[in-house]
Amino acid sequence: MGKDLIQKSLKDSLFTGIIALALFGPIVGLRTVAKNEVLVVEPKWFVVLLIVAFCAVGRFFINIYSYKKEQRRGEPSSLGKVISNFLDEKGAQIAIAAIAFSVIFPFMPFADRYWMDIAIMMMTYIMLGWGLNIVIGLAGLLDLGYVAFYAVGAYSYALFAIHFGWSFWICLPIAGLFAGMFGILLGFPVLRLRGDYLAIVTLAFGEMIRILLLNWYELTKGPDGLTGIPRPSFFGLPFKRYPDEGVETFHTFFGLEYDPMQRIIFLYYLILVLALITNAFTIKIRRLPVGRAWEALREDEIACKSLGVNPRNTKLTAFAIGAMFGGFAGSFFATRQAFISPESFTFIESAIIVAIVVLGGMGSQTGVVLSTIFLIGLIEVFRDFESYRMVAFGGAMVLIMIFRPRGILAKRKPTITMGKHG
């Protein structure tokens, strides 16, 4: 039997090698370079050989491994299971430790500008993931156009702040409101759709918003984008080296030296607080009737109707609340960048957020954090490898789906238990 297995695995890995050669040969192996102002093809067969060998050998070991796993069937102890059991048991302590770490993070010795920027970006994705988790994870509505609400939030913040000069704290709820309204706007036509059909319509909605932003030049400045978006202030104290006449700034008020990092650290805490609010809200609302109705709707819509649950209102609230948090994140994005253009709101953003939610384990709040760290972290680690980043991203998704087909943390906790009231 062992010999048979090795023979089979060898055959399989040979086949894998051929597929890898067919795929990577043209993509990686043939590269055009400009020599003496002429484009010539420069073959890179060695790299191709390495990749093909890696795929073939890897496949061989996967075969051997899964064979061994089959032998061990009955004693469940894969790495993922150990991790998720650990997280289930110590969930509360880990969450507190993670929040504590996030709070002291800016004061860590290694936390320079680069790390802070990555941390802010990750936190933004975590917040978006938590927002989308309401729509996909709880209500089970596959929304591939979530970035549209992110864009609506960013543009409404930018437009209100530029044209009316309103402060961040006034524009933030307005941006959330606008995004929530767009959520309802999307919700109405898709009420009867489920699954694949819903995914297609939401995807189209995301593109529509992007194309609208691109072409409504009078309002959005189209592809030029909006510049000069006001930065947030610390309760009225701006972060500026040379403030306007008679305006007190953050560093003069607190008697500090001016340091551009002050603004970065403030932005970091801002997104941390926004993200934690999103999380607290989701955890709370999941235990309320509307949250339970979302999950019931995900499980069985017909049964919901037979119990008198209004599916229209339930779906619309999920869309609206999810979109609202997307809008909050969008206005944070706008104030952080000070410049936004439709380029920032392409489909790939939606895809990344959906991937974060799905890979994290539908409906799991901790799972969103883990998969963000994993996916966004990986993209950053591979930043120097340019386009190979996306290969690493795809690879990470494949790995998670092999080892944890239902997401990193798939276990669901009941929202209410016997003996515990409220």
């Binding site: 809200f281 709370k284 609302i285 309320l288 009737p289 509307v290 339970r292 109705a293 999950e295 019931a296 499980e299 069985d300 017909i302 049964a303 919901c304 109707k305 037979s306 119990l307 008198g308 649950v309 209004n310 599916p311 609230t317 669901r412 009941p414 929202t415 209410i416 238990t417 016997m418 009231h421 409220g422």
Partner: protein
């Protein structure tokens, strides 16, 4: 007391050229279990779907007598039949929320009441006392019903993990959580063994006698139908071919020919 709880007159349902229900009239009384029987494809489930708003009947009328208040069921669309008129139903192929716990299933059934109590989530978000009180009451109602079917100790397990017979019973008591006036059960005994069927009979009698809820029952298991029905309506090809008590039905030559068959 035997007022008409449900009064169906000349109900007709057509799907294109197919007449699924043809001019059907029957009524159900408040303290009765009314069974609808008939061969496969006779239109039994279609009657349920018309009553509970899943289909819009082509013609005819359906009235529910709710505390001397005559309600036209045709005016309500899908979820409103349960919400406003108080008609609950179960399904031929069990429709629980399998990934949610048994208790959560019971709580979803009390959604409308709790939604109002939670001030459409606003009072709930701030942990208002009145909402917590209502939630506690809803849990007690859930516990009351779970005690009756003996599932209290499994309240925190996923509904999908329960044995088949328990899932059937859970679906029935979940429907009872909306405090219906009329409970429509679509083949509740399908797939149950003799012992489970006997328990089901007991549960249905309890609902009828103690809860004063009228029951409309579709069933193929004659031990259930004949054991508990007060009134039987027999359908064949969408038409009513017989109506009477269980005993009369058993001996009716038309019913024997169309459905029951002879013991030879």
């Amino acid at each position: 007391m035997s007022e008409k709880l449900l009064d169906v007159q000349n109900l007709t349902m057509k799907f294109g050229g197919l007449i699924a229900i043809d001019n059907l009239s029957f009524s159900a009384k408040k303290d009765h279990i009314t069974s609808i029987i008939g061969p496969n494809g006779a239109g039994k489930t279609t009657v349920f779907n018309c009553l509970t708003g899943f289909y819009k009947a082509t013609a005819g009328s359906m009235f529910l007598n709710k505390e001397n208040n005559k309600m036209d069921l045709k005016k309500f669309s899908d979820f409103k039949v349960a919400q406003k008129a108080g008609v609950a139903r179960t399904f031929q192929n069990i429709r629980l929320f399998p990934q949610m716990s048994v208790l959560e299933n019971m709580m979803v059934a009390q959604h409308n009441k709790l939604m109002t109590a939670s001030g459409f989530s606003i009072l709930g978000l701030i942990n208002s006392k009145s909402y917590l009180q209502k939630e506690k009451e809803a849990m007690e109602i859930s516990k009351y019903w779970l005690d009756i079917i003996g599932l209290t100790n499994r309240a925190d397990d996923n509904a999908g993990d329960l044995p088949y017979g328990d899932q059937r019973k859970l679906e029935i008591v979940r429907a009872m959580c909306i405090e219906p006036h009329l409970l429509c059960l679509d083949e509740p005994a399908a797939g149950l063994n003799a012992k489970e069927s006997a328990e089901l009979n007991k549960l249905l009698k309890f609902i009828k006698n103690d809860k004063k809820t009228g029951i409309l029952l579709i069933e193929h298991d004659m031990s259930v139908v004949m054991g508990i029905s007060d009134h039987v309506v027999v359908l064949n090809y969408g038409k009513k071919i017989f109506e009477g008590t269980a005993k009369e039905t058993k001996n009716s030559p038309e019913v024997i020919e169309a459905y029951l068959g002879t013991e030879d």
